[in-house]
């Protein structure tokens, strides 16, 4: 019900966006009447609902409607203490977001000092999405990401040391220095990457979800209920792979959650200039899955939606499409001069900094003291410093590492002129790869 509630509240807010002063008026275009309940903290199961949204405006008023929407959702939480949050949970979320922010800031520093190279895409400002979703996952659940993947890996549990080493290109990195910033993989923590081309990871995530279903139904493993979360951006939502995978996931009811980190910009392309229907969450029902829009700058709201979507997937009820309205405080990458975004847009979202919001919330609700939070910040500083020291001290990969992982079975390098497999020849790894 929560998700369909979200849909109804969104429709009502948008339809009333042009009529100021009565945001609670019901939408006239909804086919069914829905009771008003508190959106967050709802315990009712959600089902697939189609939504009529014929009156969604797509012109300039939309932008203001979105702002109204976020305010509405915030308004709708009648009692903040209804938000299920314990002291420990709150601190865990805070710590994860502080780790993300500090780590990314340190990345920027290290990049400008010439310790890491290439394309580095930072996650500042979007921490609530990663923390909100990944902290509700189990260790065996899968996470699949894009090139903006440092924080997804960190939230999932990959040690900061390994991520920083990977960024420095050292042999102790999580991918032995062979992946880099855009290819964070971890078998232990089920991080499926890290992909440089957008949209590439969505089918891979769909495959991992398919493997769960396969294990359950073909291999008869009742305990197989690992959920997959695929993260990608607004630009990706115009890519064919996105739609193809929405179709397949809904068709086969795969345990996957498609999380759109809509930060409104794909490098320099505004979402509204690239997309005919900018409301990405509406594309879920078109394929037969719930589409939810959530304020991605508020970790508690994200977490609530995440919990419901994950429970839905684990039950076997199928996929969910979640659009998180979020923002990146830095440019697209460290090479992006970020000239196109207007200062007042940046200021608007800076005021909604997810870390500040959670901090305010925790303190106002006596869930944590300033001291607790300072201690966390200090602890994270140490972790991040330590990761940099570890990465600096780590060795660069040896020459022998060049050919090691090209093939899982190195017989794939073939049979050499002398009749032996090339990989069996001594000094093979010091040589060249040719087949």
């Amino acid at each position: 019900m929560a998700i369909s509630m979200a849909l109804s509240s969104i429709s009502s807010s948008v339809s009333s966006s042009t009529s100021v002063g009565n945001p609670r008026r019901r939408a006239l275009h909804l086919k069914t009447q829905r009771p008003r309940t508190v959106f967050l903290g709802s315990k009712v199961e959600c089902g697939i609902r189609g939504v009529q949204h014929t009156d969604l405006s797509r012109n300039a008023t939309f932008h203001s409607a979105k702002a109204t929407l976020s305010e509405l959702l915030r308004e709708n939480t009648t009692s903040t203490s209804d938000l299920l949050l314990m002291h420990d949970e709150g601190l865990e979320l805070y710590e994860d977001m502080i780790l993300a922010r500090s780590f990314e800031d340190m990345c920027a520093q290290m990049y400008y000092r010439g310790k890491m190279f290439g394309f580095v895409h930072l996650y500042n400002g979007q921490e609530a999405v990663s923390t909100g979703f990944i902290k509700s996952l189990r260790k065996d659940d899968f996470v699949c990401s894009t090139y903006r993947d440092h924080v997804h890996a960190l939230s999932k549990g990959v040690p900061a040391r390994q991520v920083m080493s990977e960024l420095f290109g050292k042999a102790t990195g999580c991918c032995r220095g062979q992946g880099g910033s855009m290819h964070m993989f971890s078998k232990e923590h089920q991080v499926l990457g890290g992909f440089a081309f957008i949209g590439e990871g969505i089918p891979v995530a769909t495959g991992a979800a398919f493997a769960t279903k396969y294990r359950r139904e073909v291999l008869k493993d009742d305990k197989a209920d690992a959920v997959t979360v695929a993260f990608f951006g607004d630009g990706t939502c115009n890519n064919g792979q996105f739609f193809e995978c929405l179709n397949m996931a809904a068709l086969w009811k795969l345990p996957i959650i498609f999380v759109v980190e809509n930060n409104l910009w794909a490098i320099g392309m505004s979402h509204y200039r690239a997309t005919s229907i900018p409301e990405i969450w509406t594309k879920g029902p078109a394929f037969g899955m719930p589409g939810v829009h959530v304020d991605g700058m508020d970790v508690l709201k994200v977490r609530e939606v995440a919990n419901e979507a994950i429970a839905r997937a684990r039950r076997g009820d199928g996929p969910t499409l979640v659009e998180c309205e979020t923002y990146r405080f830095r440019g697209h990458s460290l090479a992006d001069p970020d000239e196109l975004r207007k200062p007042d847009e940046k200021a608007h979202y800076a005021a909604r900094d997810p870390i500040m919001s959670l901090k305010t919330y925790l303190i106002e609700n006596n869930l944590a003291s300033e001291g607790d939070l300072k201690a966390i910040e200090k602890k994270i500083d140490e972790i991040v410093e330590d990761s940099v020291e570890f990465a600096e001290a780590s060795p660069l990969p040896e020459r022998s590492q060049l050919l090691e992982n090209v093939f899982a079975d190195p017989k794939g390098f073939g049979i050499g002129p002398d009749g032996r497999y090339r990989c069996e020849e001594p000094g093979f790894t010091a040589g060249t790869a040719q087949v």
Binding site: F142, G173, C174, C175, R176, G177, Q178, G179, G180, H183, F185, S186, K187, L192, G193, G194, F195, A196, F197, E200, I202, P203, V204, A205, T206, G207, A208, A209, F210, A211, K213, Y214, R215, V218, L219, G240, Q241, E244, C245, N247, M248, L251, E404, N405, V406, F407, A408, D409, K411, G412, F413, G414, I415, G416, P417, D418, Y421, A433, Q434, V435
Partner: protein
């Protein structure tokens, strides 16, 4: 010329009747082959004849039933005896079972799916329809809809899905209804399939098999007549094999499924109805090895897939003209089996590559470079390469025939090269 006419009569009688696969049924089933030893006769009247000793193992007696006798006094020694093979099985020609190539693929697939429950097939119309070339016919009833997954028409995404499933522990086989459709999956094949094992530092393996029919068919038009082996050969991390007979189709299918590497198995549209007798017992071929089809002394002919059969057609003519070509089906398009190829080059010193790929950037081009690099000193002549023309395959029959290599061209090329 008297002796030439005689030789022609001799070889005409010797010519194996039936389709190429019948020829192969006797030769490759037990990996023995007709040994044709040539020893030079004295030069007679300007032409060089060779005395042919034919020692056949595992051959049907019928093939030699009509061996002509010399009536002109020239001695022709033939020893057409069906010799018992070292493998010890009596009447091998009666054992084993005959089937068509697509059935052989299905048999290999079936055996592997029974053996390992994580093996599954993902593709369009593989389940209920049984595969557009009937390779998976009847299997959905046996294994269920999830193991023979009928996908929507979304090659890029379902190939990526197979890759994700492979990373999570399954062993999927992706069927492209036609190899050309896999161009839509190029993104996933190049970026993820080939590279993911490396960029993840070896953490994730992708034991996937991508297979499908390609090559020029019977007037299928340009887009359905593509040869993708040249496009995929540069992708690091992929292995590519091409099957050409029911025997190697089944063996390579099984080997590809069992391999931990991503393997692309190229089949050919026109070879699906090739019939051959294959062994009853289980066998798995080596993915990296080439197949010696016919030993010889004069020239090495390297080929794969459908062109193997064109080459063998040409070989009949060549043998009647007195040449003794060695035919190798390279089978492994990436990596090349440089041992088998090298041994052959060292023996014959001349190479002709016959392929169906385009001239530009095809498998032949890479093979030429590899041979030149490794065996330059052994060569007496430039490496010849017969490839398809750099032309989109036309619909019209005569034009289509002109784009691929035909047996007369092979004969001519061999004659030219052997002049060196």
């Amino acid at each position: 010329m008297e002796s030439t006419a005689l030789l022609q009569k001799l070889t005409a009688g010797m010519a194996f009747r039936g389709n190429p696969a019948t020829l192969l049924s006797s030769s490759s089933a037990s990996s023995h082959f007709a040994r044709v030893q040539a020893s030079a006769w004295p030069i007679m009247q300007g032409s060089r004849l060779r005395r042919l000793n034919v020692e056949a193992t595992d051959l049907n007696a019928n093939a030699f039933g009509t061996m002509p006798h010399s009536s002109t006094g020239l001695k022709i020694i033939t020893k057409a005896v069906a010799v018992k093979t070292e493998r010890g099985s009596t009447a091998t020609a009666q054992q084993g079972h005959e089937l068509l190539l697509f059935e052989a693929l299905r048999e290999g697939l079936d055996e592997e799916m029974e053996r390992d429950p994580t093996v599954c097939v993902i593709g369009e119309d593989v389940g209920h329809y049984g595969g557009s070339y009937k390779v998976t016919k009847g299997m959905a009833e046996k294994y269920g809809d999830l193991r023979l997954l009928d996908t929507p028409i979304a090659e890029n995404s379902f190939t990526g899905m197979a890759i994700g499933a492979a990373m999570s522990g399954l062993r999927p086989i992706v069927e492209g209804m036609n190899m050309g459709f896999l161009l839509l999956a190029f993104n996933q094949i190049a970026n993820n399939c080939g590279m993911l094992h490396y960029t993840s530092g070896g953490q994730f393996t992708i034991p996937i098999v991508i297979r499908g029919p390609g090559g020029v068919g019977r007037q299928l038009g340009a887009e359905h007549s593509q040869r993708l082996e040249s496009y995929f050969q540069s992708v690091p991390g992929l292995q590519m094999v091409a099957c050409s007979t029911p025997y190697n189709a089944k063996g390579l299918m099984k080997a590809a499924i069992r391999s931990e590497n991503p393997v692309i198995l190229f089949e050919h549209v026109l070879l699906y109805n090739l019939k051959e007798r294959i062994p009853d017992e289980e066998y798995v071929l080596c993915l990296e090895e080439a197949e010696l089809v016919r030993p010889g002394e004069d020239i090495t002919i390297l080929t794969y897939s459908r062109m193997r059969h064109h080459v063998l057609q040409a070989v009949k003519t060549l043998v009647s003209k007195g040449y003794d070509p060695e035919v190798i089906d390279i089978r492994s398009l990436k990596p090349f089996d440089l041992f088998t190829i090298g041994n052959s080059v060292k023996k014959t010193h001349k190479v002709l590559i016959v392929e169906e790929c385009m001239r530009t950037g095809g498998i032949g081009a890479s093979l030429r470079a590899a041979i030149m690099e490794n065996f330059f000193d052994e060569l007496d002549a430039p490496i010849g390469c017969l490839s398809s023309q750099d032309v989109p395959t036309p619909y019209a029959g005569p034009l289509e025939d002109l784009t691929v290599v035909q047996p007369p061209q092979i004969v001519f090329a061999v004659e030219q090269l052997c002049k060196h």
